[in-house]
Symmetry: D2
Subunit: 345 residues, 4 copies
């Protein structure tokens, strides 16, 4: 039996990725799409400017768009592609009304009783849901995934944790899709780099420590290292590339580091439809990973790692992941799948 | 009276920049252009595929292209836009024959008796010319400028030296022109980032220490800090953008750092025609510098610095400079100008 | 003595070009900038997001932005960079109040008593100003320039008029700047072509006939040929490229056509500061003109023509011009200069 | 039982597309890959710089690369991705030796006894194979597909033939992949249009008439209309966009034209694995087709048509197709499939 799911904020760039990924999902049935008041009542195919390079699924075209309010939505799980400012008010309403809210928004990520998850990295943090329900007297709950840039970094840092991470420098080269369809004008970015993305460095500097922290059944104790981030926009459509330096306590050999990446796996995600065969793919070619060539690896859910090298204080490498699949819609869906598996829904 | 100058390897991307910058030079008269044996004897306008967005100067069109050999060239100074592998053999021939060779090639940069210069940073290193002549029994000499990526970094590190530089992390986002006209195919870079540039990280990790080192009249003692570089190619035509972290011994305030950048100047370059009014331009806008908007500042000779911020271990910022002007042709010309001023030529 | 001029709608892409071109103008003194009510009263440097690759002139930074209303503006000539929908109401108010309105907007181009001008093509049409003033009882007047795509086409068709133009097919490849700074999102155009520009084909199909028509002192009789246009957006920042087929009554040789382009000139624009030395530059290289290499020819005011070839029914060629200089701001300024010269202002 | 096939010139852009499309082909088994003498004997995975965004199939990695000579290749059909200059000599050798050569090269397209085919358009032209064998005393044969730009045009003209085509104007906006991986440098095309592609206009002006001509069992009588083409390169990776004007004898209504496109089908290709469900997809959205969004329709084998409009002399529209799939590798494979079906191989 399939569960009914909905997408909150279904018309934007991330909303469209949710629809693409959910249209053929084996566990979930896409039953509800919400958008702004203005669009409610119309067919999705009429109001959405569909801009993916796969066609809008026929069965979605005729779905009536609903207002973003719990009493209008008939579903068990809702995926939130809402902007943070709206998510702040709306997501608790849905959680209160009994929905599982799998959110891509940043509004609740850092709340102490909200799980901030990458299923392959910290599946046990899902236990925070119990804490949250108790705290907030909600029938439902909010589960969040990290910022798109954080996911590729945090996932690639996980196998390095055993060497003792002392600190991280990271410079990102981020795709324009991360800002939404209208987020970056062509005049701004053609033949250019913009060395600034609003609030991005702040997110990169705090989210990974929570994800890589330890959950003791009541709360998460953050991992103890500092991240310094420089976030840059480049003329790439999809795929965030990150130059990462991890300074390490231990002094592993290059092949130990390569092995740690290559052998990384997580049993908890076995059988989840959206989990890729390999969460981390290691490239040995000297000029990989590249966003255009590697972003679709693992159907967009694998993070590619390459150019692994030693430096004075640890290891440097390149990590690259698809920002609107692994870094957004796919991340939320994988979270929801883990939830269903864990709680036998 | 104007000095006669020549360009060795005049048909490539850097060669064309030399021609553009020398065509109207107040001190130098462009008298000789060399290219491969195959092109020798033909008019420059016939063999060069001119690809700058300013027209090829008329008086250059009809210059006969010469073979790259000292006895064919009638000039006092030659600018070398040769590839390193060819420069290795050819530049000493010219120096031996009495030419001042102002070279953009990497072949001799790290030789202990060859000055590696940025006139605003280490004008005194020019003294190595005397050492070199004595050592090598040459009538002429070789003077080099750094790799294009190093220049923006080293110039911006100079004002931070007084705070004590302990180490540097740098991630570059480099323009395609740095690889020459045919260096990066469009299929490779459209909608893409290539996290690899052959030999670039190696250069970035050793050249700055020599430039920022101390010259005692006999040799240069390298500055004592490590650089770790991650070099990336992005779909930008001109202008290398660099995310730099300088870890510092002292703990300067942000405004002290800003001041150090903003007030940086060097008296030795006064009056040099190619020296920009400001070697470093500080941007306070949160999204600057950007290559497309800022690469032509100071006629391409200013390095733009912005997004200056503190981090746990020092200061992080963005530096950006025009890679084929400040980072190549303009750098060599400025070196030659300093030479002429110093030695009263 | 310099005339005072203003720019209506000074913050957008075309508005900024006006400011760039007027800042150092020998005849005009930039005295007034208007913007939306919201911005009025603030300094231009504070409210405008300046995005040209030349710096915002210092003296403009501190100009107070005015509301777009005649009684607030102290100037003789105003340049209109307003959107058509606003220009429709505002431009007549300014004309009525005695201003010469040199407009880049489409609102009044096709009115029978409003000159639609390219000074090198139809300088005599300026006489419509007298008709207009009489008709409308205005102290001032409105003078318009064509749509950016039309200018390159109409200018290049002018020398062909003597061969008898029977019809025109034109396919454009237009730069993103034509849509304004926020007009084309990067997600829409990176690695893409958009074969549609709202209302552009309609403009291309009617404006040239008026420009190339005959003015008998009272009205313009349109030139008698049909234009069929296909307008496409490509990932280029500035410079519209146009593939043009002109079917001709006569059967000129290729060299007669080349000569007609190359020798084209117009005495009426002599001495106008913004008129380029050559309105049309002929390229003989097989792969020119190209927008990135040729858009700045004649300081952006020359139209480049190349790949001139015969075909069954006439001649085909490529025309390319800078869309925000020759095709917008520069066009309006040249119109105003012709007005000043003609009416001895 | 599956047939053994080979790819001649397997390392280039088109060669890689052949490999991608043949790796999972239900009828064909990829058994032989050839390349230059230099590479022969090595494993494909070692010598090919694989640059598609799908991984190189594992079973292909270890295939030994062969020299391009008939006695070394064990296969029934060979697909030729050779440059025309090499194909000229090599393809007849293979045909003579009994191979069916399905060629993407231009060398033999216009020979009177060589079929130039688009299976949905002129399947009966395959009959030329008999003529060819008889003429040339070959055991095998050469079957060609048109130039990449011609395919989208000719396929879209086919349904218009019934209205009587008098002439065609076409302006192309072609992807860089059409020139091969190293064919267009990034410095040449970033922020640019190049209004020239060597020999492309010539091909566009002659090939369609043969394809749309009538085969009487002995020879093809070309269709009787003139094509005038303007070929342009734009910064797009894959997908050629074409603005087409077809002047027509009849005066069909817009809906008759739309219907002709939308209902176009060809029974002869039924059951061919590479034939798309629809050879022509009609778009009604005003801004489609677009290469980035539509090139993969029908797995890259459908041509998308849109912006259908009347003009004085007929109909104008936009056609767009994937140049290295429908326009090259996929075209040759579909030809081979038709051959196998027809001759019961």
């Amino acid at each position: 039996m399939r569960m009914k799911v909905g997408v909150l904020g279904a018309t934007g760039a991330v909303g469209q990725r949710f629809i693409q990924l959910l249209a053929e999902h084996p566990w979930f049935e896409l039953a509800a799409l919400t958008a702004s008041e203005r669009s409610a009542g119309k067919k999705y195919g009429e109001i959405a400017k569909w801009r993916l390079d796969v066609p809008l699924p026929d069965k979605v075209k005729d779905l009536k768009v609903l207002p973003t309010s719990p009493e209008k939505v008939d579903a068990d799980i809702v995926f939130s592609a809402l902007p943070a400012s709206i998510a702040k008010d709306v997501e608790p309403e849905f959680a209160k009304a009994g929905f599982v809210v799998a959110s891509n928004a940043s509004a609740y990520r850092m709340e102490s009783d909200v799980p901030l998850m990458i299923p392959e990295v910290n599946p046990d943090h899902l236990g925070l849901v119990e804490v949250q329900k108790k705290n907030r007297h909600w029938d439902g709950c909010i589960i969040t995934n990290p910022n798109c840039s954080v996911i590729a970094m945090a996932l690639s840092l996980k196998p390095l944790m055993k060497f003792g991470i002392k600190g991280v420098h990271v410079a990102t080269m981020q795709a324009v899709s991360g800002a939404g369809y209208e987020g970056v004008s062509s005049m701004a970015i053609l033949d250019n780099v913009i060395p600034y993305i609003a609030k991005e460095e702040e997110k990169m500097e705090i989210e990974a420590q929570k994800i890589l922290g330890e959950f003791d059944g009541a709360k998460v104790k953050n991992a103890d290292f500092a991240v310094s981030a420089s976030c840059n926009r480049v003329p790439v459509i999809d795929g965030h590339t990150e130059a990462i330096w991890a300074s390490l306590c231990d002094n592993p050999s290059l092949s130990e580091v390569r092995d740690a990446f290559a052998k990384f796996k997580c049993d908890e995600v076995k059988g989840l439809p959206t989990a890729p065969e390999k969460a981390i793919i290691v490239h040995d070619a000297e000029d990989r990973p590249q966003p255009r060539l590697d972003r679709n690896a693992g159907k967009g859910m694998s993070v590619s790692v390459g150019r692994i090298m030693e430096y004075a204080d640890g290891v440097k490498y390149i990590a690259m992941g698809h920002n609107t699949i692994r870094g957004a819609a796919g991340a939320s869906i994988l979270n929801a799948e883990l939830f269903c598996k864990t709680y036998k829904r």
